[in-house]
Symmetry: D2
Subunit: 283 residues, 4 copies
């Protein structure tokens, strides 16, 4: 017997910019939105019956309309309103809203801060994924596209060696990553911007303030500190690619390279992923 | 209490090309490989102890070495050898090898097929993910980066309308997608190339030979046919973005556009995902 | 004194798909179009006067409208019509239409060739740039995104060595490139598809049929042959990145690697560019 | 007769990171470098003779070696040293060094600025192209990947209308661009960082402080001001894509959208390019 398994559908890549010109400086919100629905959609698959299929075009229209009223605050608030909206359809069991935000900063001119001229800051993408069902909503927020580097206080040694091992041990290496992190909030309301700031601030503090024997250790230390300092966070998951920076051997040219010149590479890369969680929480 | 949850690590982005010059034409295999390990790595995280941490650099060396002996056949065979290799480390509970392959075809010259000149065919990426643990290995293969189009025999109507619905019903639209599909084999040995060919052939046959009332329906029909025709496949999962092609309104210019000229867009896009499986199999 | 120098403006990224359902199989044309205008636009710059500025939105509408009537043939014909159209504006001195085309091929099903199901073939992008001014039109066509490989019959030796040279000489290496080539036609009418086919066929023939001592030499040989065999071509310009494939040293693992396993890299890359032309033509 | 025309070759995609750990905070320089040579290379093309071909691998080694000694200052200084180096080869008539730099900023921790923890700021790429020949060197610097927005003080009206024009006139629109600009310095020595800062500061000041009737006008005003305020700049060339932000019509949903919600698009896009120069300079 053949049957339909897990299925979902929705709209992605909706790029919305919301402008509030009543503030000084103007407030610009720049978000990419996607919506996914799960529920009673088997008939669409097995019988070609669209009677319950809310069109993805309708989802797109809805993201624009709700952005008007709900994107004046944090993306978490908007995503809560958006995912909650789709529960008005009885056939929808779960609605997921994913929002990625990039920041625009007022330009600094020689006459002061501009009220309407903006520079996009792509140093970090802020994310949230909100899932709403009949039992409530869960909020998972995070960061993407954040490149971090430790120029010292990082090494890698004490590892096992086998036939295929050629890596030397090092006690002072470059540690460079393009970080993705997300964390589950234990609440569906709160001062989202403040919470986000405390998580990021903790991550930065710990990233700076330790000797890293491995990315594994650093991820654990950062995740643990986030849970210790931000009570509303139940669980943190991080993916840290190890973007290798190799010391260039300049000795064939009669030059000494005392950890000054590195060849930065993007491939191959290491990838270290881990979750840190409260033990009384189902992660 | 704070604890370590799920964790894994490995190497990605390893680009290997293997050449067999004894064949005519030469055989070129072009693969991107990644390896991920799960197991007893808590000490690395919580104690900064690397004694059990097989370096990702060693993983990279291993992928090259094993490609020499095992990439003469299908990527599934190579991935089986590669993931199985890492179980020799007692601390490894599960090793996952992911291989993506692009094809090189001998050039057609005016004097016939070249023996050593090749053209890369990027119309499809073939993938496999093999997971090996102490109980055996599972093989999941698939395709990516395949753009398919139905110029007719596709529509979308009969859907519900609400306050935010503006989409008209259509009985003849363009259906364009960039398909990702993967399927679980019920076996860990077999003629992988032949199996892959039968799955792809079935997908193509059904894609062509039906009127599509929705992507949901098409995915079901293709998945069902694959399971019916390929006994070694237990489950198929597909993700079909709906890459909208909108009819351009040429009437303001005094022209009629009878479904000839479309504005192709990449964002926003619909996204339809579903699994089709045998009901006696845990998917 | 400060003055306005060279300037132009236009619209880019216009993605048009044209479908002819009267043919069997259906004919799908998938093009990215841009248009650039040069002429009497100084007032827009220095006086903020838009009276002569044909809006780029109008250009976009025009590309759609003219695709209806002119994209039934080769992209060169369409680009000629499109760039010529804008000369109706007296302020336009030169109009440039750039068209990039990717191919869709009918699917092969078990019951034969599909009439309406298509697979996108991204192995090559075909391009044309047509410039029209009051003296006529020039047509420059080409190819992009074509990856070619010679698994043998390629080396690099006899080069000078200085303090910074570490590269060994090799008499049998992998030669891999992602080719961009364009050529100027000496005519503004012709059987564009046939001409394009003859240029590509010549390139392939020569690419296959020579030992390459360097990319420089190969480019010259291919360019020269194209000019010899296709009388309507006056000049060929090619850019061949050298995508290095390095032999992996497997000897630390007790293995011999007789030019079988290569580490393929995308950065850094060599880049060889040259023009080959008829000496009686101003290139 | 067939002959070799313009030709050049070199190495691209060399990613170098230089670290100075003697400063507090550490100084990180992150650059992508390419080198191109022109000169007496015809024999390599037409005779397959590599006797004068400095290998691109040697160029790569040279970029690393010279970065050790010359990348402690501005990228212009490094590019001058690098391109000048290759003139030691008699066969080299002109050497071009292109450097693109992204910035790393010290992390702000709760205990103050980190000395060794860095965040990559991708809001702007700084570029330079230095060409050295037997007559001296020319320096052209610039910026890339800078997204700027004016939320108001921008419109577009007074343009001509034809059969294909549907665009309405607007007196208050969003103006959003991802800017590329480069400028020619009239000197081959100077305080490059200060000069760069003055150009960017002028661009920002003018971008903020005017009503823009068109991108054409804005480019002129910014370019003119740069030449007026920075005597060492002879010419400025800018390319400003117009990244359209369309007001979403919410009226079908019974909502008013008073320039609050925009649909941001990346394709199609306008593209406005112009050079502003001193009239006594050959641009």
């Amino acid at each position: 017997m053949i049957e339909l398994g897990a299925n979902r559908y929705g709209k992605g890549g909706i790029h919305i910019v919301r402008v509030d010109r009543t503030a000084d400086p103007h407030i610009v919100r720049d978000v990419y939105v996607s919506v996914q629905l799960e529920g009673d959609f088997a008939a669409a698959h097995v019988a070609g019956d669209n009677a319950l299929v809310v069109p993805t075009d309708t989802m797109k229209n809805t993201t624009f309309a709700l952005a008007h009223d709900h994107l004046d605050g944090a993306i978490e608030s908007y995503a809560l309103a958006l995912s909650g909206h789709f529960l008005q359809f009885p056939q929808v069991a779960r609605a997921t809203a994913t929002v990625r935000e990039v920041a625009w900063r007022p330009l600094q001119t020689s006459a002061g801060r501009s009220d309407h001229g903006m520079l996009r800051d792509t140093s970090m993408t802020r994310t949230t994924v909100v899932r709403s069902d009949r039992d409530g909503a869960s909020v998972r927020s995070g960061i993407e596209d954040v490149a971090l580097m430790k120029t010292t206080k990082s090494g890698f040694s004490g590892f096992p060696r086998d036939r295929f091992t050629t890596l030397p041990e090092v006690d002072d290496r470059m540690m460079v990553s393009s970080v993705s992190a997300s964390w589950a909030y234990g609440t569906s309301s709160g001062d989202w911007d403040a919470l986000h700031g405390r998580v990021w601030g903790t991550l930065v503090d710990v990233f700076h303030d330790h000797f890293s024997p491995s990315l594994q250790s650093s991820i654990w230390l950062m995740g643990k500190a986030i849970l210790e300092r931000v009570a509303d966070v139940d669980e943190v998951t991080m993916a840290w690619p190890n973007l290798h920076h190799w010391i260039v051997d300049l000795s064939p040219f009669g030059m000494d390279n005392d950890r000054t010149i590195y060849h930065a590479t993007s491939e191959p890369y290491g990838m270290i992923e881990a979750t840190v969680r409260r033990s009384d929480v189902v992660g």
